[in-house]
Subunit: 158 residues, 2 copies
DNA sequence: TATTTCAACGCAAAAATTGTGCGCTCTTGT
DNA sequence: ACAAGAGCGCACAATTTTTGCGTTGAAATA
């Protein structure tokens, strides 16, 4: 279903996005057309969800990266649903997951600066329904930013 | 330096990656060539760092998403540097940041399953130098995955 | 072991997209 | 009012993507 060549392709595509099929083909030892068909198959098969431009947050004025851990007053189905749909409605909330452990939810938000985070805090965070406690942690420095999944260890079947 | 049209372009490109300039141009009210030049300028200006294929972690066998908070035994320059370069050397560590607050570092790792996380734990996490304490939190459910920065509120200068 | 089958490949041509030169227009500054 | 410069659309050239088709090699079948 996925062989060594596909893995190489995924690795290349994950790092440097769309490149001419001829170039990729050369790197993985395939003709341009064969390579092209492989890529289409990976897309159609749902391995590759799509392509995106990677923006540099600082260059668009979002210099502050904050994790916010939140626990709710109630764990009822309704409480969770209400909270989650509120979360989804704010673009400033970049990510949100339900975690094992003490705090229930963790979300990541982007802000221009501390003052902007304060605005965000009042404008959206404080409006999330059912919040019992909230704790923020600022990113002081990014040691390693997400640049793709390790693709070397995929199940091969060929 | 960046106007309303660029913002629209960034938004489009961030969501749906490279699309024909003619199509983007139509959406933002520009000819294909003008649109094309705008995009090149955004790339050259460092606003767009590049393009990447977005892989679906489950489809490549990485079903487990874990946050690991780590505090070090020493805060010395050397200790931090040693820790950080070790972190960078492991592909399984997807992200790492230095945080304000109690725990020093937070990293995010991807594993196939719990058994694989155990392997990871022994194979790389436990080999990170200078670790005093480590605490893991598993993602039970992703409410919102990262899909780009909010681009609406960029400083416009036109 | 010979034969059939089928997926995947490479080549080549067609279709689409990107990349570029150029003249025009509108805004800004003097 | 006028010169200068940024940004636009058009037209065309250069690349890249996409598809048709015949071939090849491995696995299944007889």
């Amino acid at each position: 279903m996925i062989d060594r060549i596909d893995i190489k392709l995924l690795d290349l595509l994950q790092r440097h996005g769309p490149r001419p099929a001829a170039e990729l083909g050369e790197k993985v030892g395939l003709s341009a057309s064969a390579c092209h068909r492989r890529i289409r198959a990976l897309e159609a098969g749902g391995i590759i969800a799509g392509y995106t431009a990677r923006l540099v947050p600082e260059r668009i004025g979002l210099g502050l990266d904050v994790f916010v851990d939140i626990s709710l007053t109630s764990q009822s189905e309704e409480a969770l649903t209400a909270f989650e749909s509120a979360v989804k409605s704010y673009d400033e909330i970049l990510e949100c997951q339900l975690l094992s452990g003490a705090s229930d939810y963790r979300l990541r938000v982007a802000a221009r600066n501390v003052a902007d985070f304060d605005r965000l805090h009042r404008h959206c965070l404080s409006r999330l329904p059912g919040v019992a406690a909230m704790h923020s942690a600022f990113t002081l420095r990014t040691i390693k930013a997400f640049e793709g999944y390790p693709v070397s260890g995929i199940d091969e079947r060929r």
